[in-house]
Symmetry: C2
Subunit: 346 residues, 2 copies
C-alpha cells in the first residue's frame, strides 16, 4: 500500500521494552488525526522465539512477547525485519534503540529515506570520541543528513506507561512545527508531553542522570539515609545543569524543572538498574562490571559508560574540580576511592 503523498507516516526504529511501549502509544494516536497514515511500521531485529520469528509473533499475536510481554499492541503497528523497508516512506522516524547501533543504522538509511523526513530520538547517552562530546540527536542529524531531530526524555519507566499509568515527558526541539507533529504521536491523557526549545538541555538530562543514579546507589549501599540521598539528587541536578550550560549554548534553566530533568532524575535514583548495581557494589565489595555481568542478564549499565565518558571530557578540559560530585562518583566507581568519600569530598 502506498501512503498518501501528503500524509505523515511514522516509522519506529527499535522494538525493545521502550520501543514497543512507544509503538502502543503511536499506533493508537495516529487514529486521532487525519493527517497521519494509519500504518506504523516498526523495525524489529529479527530473532527466533520458540521456533517462530519475532516479527511474525508481533504481527499475528500483536504482542512483543520477548521485550514487552502481556501488553497488546495496536494491530496497525506492523513489525518489519528490514530497516530500509521500515523507513522508506516515513516522514517521522522514531529512534529508540541502544546508542551503539545509531551510526550503523544511519549508514544503512542514508539516502534511502524521504528528503522531508524528520526524526525524534528516545536514545539515552552521549557520544564521546577524540573530537569531544556529540549529542545523539546531532549524530543522527549529521549521519542521516536530516532536517530536524527532536528528542523525547522524561520520568518514563516503560512498563508503567505500557500499563497506562500516568506519566509526563518532555520533547526538546529546534523546529517547532516538527515538534508539534511529534507531540501528536506521543501525547495521551496518561502520557503528558511538553515541548521545550532546548534539544541539548533535554538530551543531556537523559544522559547524565545515570551518573547521579550511581551516586544514589552508593548512598543506599552506605545506608546514609534519605537526607543524604536527596542531597545527592539535588547536587546531581545542579551539576547536570552546569555541565549542559557549559558545553551547549541556549540550554534553559527551566528545562531542569521539566519531566526530563528533576522528575526523571528522581525515578532513576529511586529504582533503576544503575542505582541498584551501585548499591550492590558498596554492600558486596565487587566491581561494577562484575555485578553488571551477574545482575543484569546481558543488559548494560548506561551510567558507567556515561560516567567514564564525562570524566574523560572533564579531565581533558581541566574541569574536574568544578564537578565534584561527578568526579567523586567516577573515582568510587573506577579508581577504588572508598564509597564513604562520596560526601566527604563534596
Amino acid at each position: 500500500m502506498q501512503p498518501a503523498a501528503n500524509k505523515e507516516k511514522v516509522a519506529i526504529i527499535g522494538s525493545g521494552n521502550w520501543g514497543s511501549t512507544a509503538s502502543k502509544i503511536i499506533g493508537r494516536n495516529v487514529h486521532n488525526f487525519d493527517e497521519f497514515d494509519k500504518e506504523v511500521k516498526m523495525w524489529v531485529f529479527e530473532e527466533m522465539i520458540n521456533g517462530q520469528k519475532l516479527t511474525d509473533i508481533i504481527n499475528t499475536k500483536h504482542e512483543n512477547v520477548k521485550y514487552l510481554p502481556n501488553i497488546k499492541l495496536p494491530p496497525n503497528v506492523k513489525a518489519c525485519p528490514d530497516l530500509v523497508e521500515t523507513c522508506r516512506d516515513a516522514t517521522v522516524l522514531v529512534f529508540v534503540l541502544p546508542h551503539q547501533f545509531i551510526r550503523e543504522v544511519c549508514k544503512d538509511l542514508l539516502g534511502k529515506i524521504r528528503p522531508d523526513a524528520k526524526a525524534v530520538s528516545l536514545v539515552k547517552g552521549v557520544d564521546v570520541s577524540e573530537s569531544g562530546l556529540t549529542l545523539i540527536s546531532d549524530l543522527i542529524k549529521q549521519h542521516l543528513n536530516i532536517r530536524s531531530v527532536s528528542v523525547l526524555m522524561g520520568a518514563n519507566i516503560a512498563n508503567e506507561i505500557a500499563e497506562e499509568l500516568f506519566s509526563e515527558s518532555t520533547i526538546g526541539f529546534t523546529d517547532a512545527d516538527d515538534a508539534a507533529v511529534i507531540k501528536k504521536i506521543f501525547n495521551t491523557p496518561y502520557f503528558r508531553v511538553s515541548c521545550v526549545n532546548d534539544v541539548a538541555g533535554v538530551e543531556i538530562c537523559g544522559a547524565l542522570k545515570n551518573i547521579v543514579a550511581l551516586g544514589a546507589g552508593f548512598v543506599d549501599g552506605l545506608r546514609y539515609g534519605d537526607n543524604c540521598k536527596a542531597a545527592i539528587i539535588r547536587l546531581g541536578l545542579l551539576e547536570m545543569k552546569k555541565f549542559a550550560q557549559m558545553f551547549y549554548s541556549g540550554v534553559r534553566d527551566e528545562t531542569f524543572l521539566e519531566s526530563c530533568g528533576v522528575a526523571d532524575l528522581i525515578t532513576t535514583c529511586s529504582g533503576g538498574r544503575n542505582r541498584k548495581v551501585a548499591e550492590a557494589m558498596v554492600t558486596t565489595g565487587e566491581s561494577l562490571s562484575a555485578l553488571e555481568a551477574r545482575m543484569l542478564g546481558g543488559q548494560k549499565l548506561q551510567g558507567t559508560l556515561t560516567a567514564k565518558e564525562v570524566h574523560m571530557i572533564l579531565e581533558q578540559k581541566n574541569l574536574t574540580q568544578e564537578f565534584p560530585l561527578f568526579t567523586t562518583i567516577y573515582k568510587i566507581a573506577f579508581e577504588g576511592l572508598p564509597a564513604s568519600h562520596l560526601v566527604r569530598d563534596l
Copy 2:
C-alpha cells in the same frame, strides 16, 4: 554566670526531636568560635518521666530520653523549664517548636529579651487568619519586635542528623551579618548549610511541601508507580514556586533548587507521615483525621492543616484554577473526590 557582654549567646526554644538534634549541633559548634558563650540554654516544657523531671534527666544524663533517645547531647546544653530564664541573656533565639505555640511564646518573651537579639525559625507551616497569610518568621518578628528573623529549612529528617549522617540545609535571611552568625552555630561537615537572601521562599517551601506529600501518598495508595510520583513531585515543586512568587516579592528561582526546595520535597514525599497517612487513606477508605488519630499516636499532620489554609487563601483570591494540584489534593483530602482524580484533573 553572667555572659560576657560582647559574646554571642544561643538559646533554643523547644526540645522535641528536631530541637534536641539542633541542640547537639549547636552545643558542639559554639566551642569552635571564640565569639560564642559556651553555655547553650534549651527551653524544655517540663514533664515527668518515670518520676523524674525531664530537665533533670537531660542535665544529668545528657540525653532527651523522650524525644531523642540514645543520642548524647553535649554537656554545655542546659535544659531549663523557664522560658524567660532560657532566653533572657541570649543574642540568638532558635525557635523550634510547633507552630501553634509561637504566639504565646512571643507574648511571654516580649520585652524580656536583649534588644540586640536575633532569631532563627525552624518552625514549619504558615499562619492563616482572616487577614490572610503570615509567615512564621514575620509572626515572630512582629510579636517579639526583634531585629531580624532568619529561617532554616531543608531535607532534614532529625534522627538521621542526630546520627551524623550527611545532609544539607538552607538558611533564608534578610540580614546577612545575622545569617553568618546563625550559619556558624549550625554548619558542620555532616550538616552543610547554605544561605540565601530569601526568607519567604525558604519558609514557603517548608510549609507547602507537606501538601505535595499528601499527593505523593495518594499516588502510593493508588499504586500508580514511580513515573507518576515523580510527576506529582515535579508539579508540586512548580506550584510551590508559583505560590511563593505570587504572594511574596523577591522570591528567587534558585531557592527551589536549594535543600529547602527540591531536596526536602523529595525526602518528604519518600518517607514522612503526611505521605504515609495519605497512602493509608486510599488503601483503607478511612478519613485523614481518623487515620491521623489512629496512626500517629498524638502527633499531628502538618499537611492537612496547610492544605486547608492554602485552599482557603486560593478560594478567597479566586485562584484555585491556577493551582490544579493543590486544589485537587484538597478536594481528595476533604471533599470526597476519588483519589483517582489526582492526575485526571491536572
